[in-house]
Symmetry: C2
Subunit: 258 residues, 2 copies
């Protein structure tokens, strides 16, 4: 069982990064501790400041440290995850009168805020059109954009799509959608959420997403493309969730189908 363990990397930047990583993992450097300055590291390892800087970039990319301009580079606190359970779709949660996000926030003792930057009639993206079974060439959907905050920290961006022909003239076109949110209104239209399909992927954020979510460099996003199916198996709502991955996790608990 020979494990591949390169003894000492030949590249100075890797060597510095590895040494710092070792100190972090061994506990010599603890969460919140300040690393030596770039200039100090460079001198200590006999290399240029740019090389020490590159080493820190490698660690930041890995999410181990975070730099604060003018102040220093610090070992990142392991983030507590804001967890979204599969039961967020559960009907019994309706009794609380809270939307899934507000419920989850309350569970974790945080204050939820939801911004609605835009509600517009649009041509749907191809993947949404396919799942909602509408035309991608017409303005066949209403796109509701939402930004979610917990304790004023941005947590997720959600784009919700419903059919224009159904949403037209209803509260689905308004920022305030009334009791039980959009799912309440969709139920009024005869769609009872019966099954859900969540397609999950991870990637690096676009610059826009990084800005909205205040993402530090090296933090990926979790993307969930969610489809709601009604009692007849008809898809009636598709949402794209973009979560910051350093603070968010997903939890799915489900029965094994025989």
């Amino acid at each position: 069982m020979t494990s591949t363990r390169p003894p000492t990397p030949q590249q100075p930047s890797r060597r510095i990064a590895d040494e710092l990583r070792r100190q972090i993992e061994s506990g010599d450097l603890r969460s919140g501790d300040k690393l030596p300055s770039e200039r100090a590291l460079a001198e200590q390892y006999g290399s240029a400041r740019n090389t020490a800087r590159e080493a820190i970039r490698l660690l930041a990319e890995q999410g181990l440290v975070t730099a604060k301009h003018g102040s220093g580079v610090f070992v990142r606190e392991p983030q507590r995850l804001f967890r979204f359970g599969s039961d967020r779709y559960s009907l019994k949660n309706r009794e609380t009168g809270l939307t899934p996000f507000r419920l989850e926030a309350k569970r974790q003792g945080k204050v939820a805020r939801i911004d609605v930057p835009s509600i517009t009639r649009e041509k749907p993206p191809a993947d949404v059109a396919e799942r909602l079974k509408v035309s991608a060439d017409e303005e066949s959907v209403v796109h509701r954009e939402n930004h979610y905050f917990a304790d004023d920290e941005p947590v997720q961006i959600v784009s919700t799509f419903v059919r224009w022909d159904e949403a037209q003239g209803t509260l689905l076109m308004e920022a305030k959608t009334g009791k039980d949110g959009i799912y309440g209104r969709l139920e009024d239209l005869g769609h009872v959420m019966t099954r859900v399909r969540d397609e999950i992927s991870a990637r690096m954020p676009t610059p826009e997403e990084a800005a909205i979510l205040s993402l530090l460099p090296g933090v990926p996003v979790l993307e969930v493309l969610h489809t709601s199916l009604d009692q007849d198996g008809v898809p009636f709502e598709v949402s794209r969730y973009v979560h910051r991955a350093d603070q968010t996790g997903l939890l799915y608990e489900l029965p094994v189908e025989s």
Copy 2:
């Protein structure tokens, strides 16, 4: 509705990156196309080679381009996702005699290979111990490490943990676990998989993971901490899946619980 759109970034590296990104998104540069060389970009934009290089790094971090040493920088092909459905746990798949991974690979017309680098008795990590309800201070588990390949491309790393007191002396300690894999053997021990709990997160890979999965810079990993519960609600197996996010997605389809 004033959208925050900085017209032209002040930093040269961002400016070059944004211009290239625009060309990629507009289709001027297509998948597989070669970008101008670092030296050419530098001259074209009147900046230093390092600055052009930084611009390319920004794009690579975002997963838009990939550099080939000695050859050039190319627009990355959008990867087709190797999708793992929640039905991978379904009992009916047993009839095929294939393990979930082999089944998924076959579905996508790929050849599956599974390496088993190690099977060892160990102290479990804290999160595994908590979910398997065993002591984290003793060598209470057997750790099976697996590397999965599809068409010889590394796809995922899996660490499976089962109780040592159950695995001792069984095929669970061997590379070849017999019919239906480890779930077959665990069923022999009286554990019928009845519910599963998948905890999903995303992060940047460790250097080891990047090496095993041949990950390009800027590609995150999807981590799934999976717990199998038997007919009595007893957790009998915990696995940590590490997927490369550029080629892997997860699919969960589930009924909404009333």
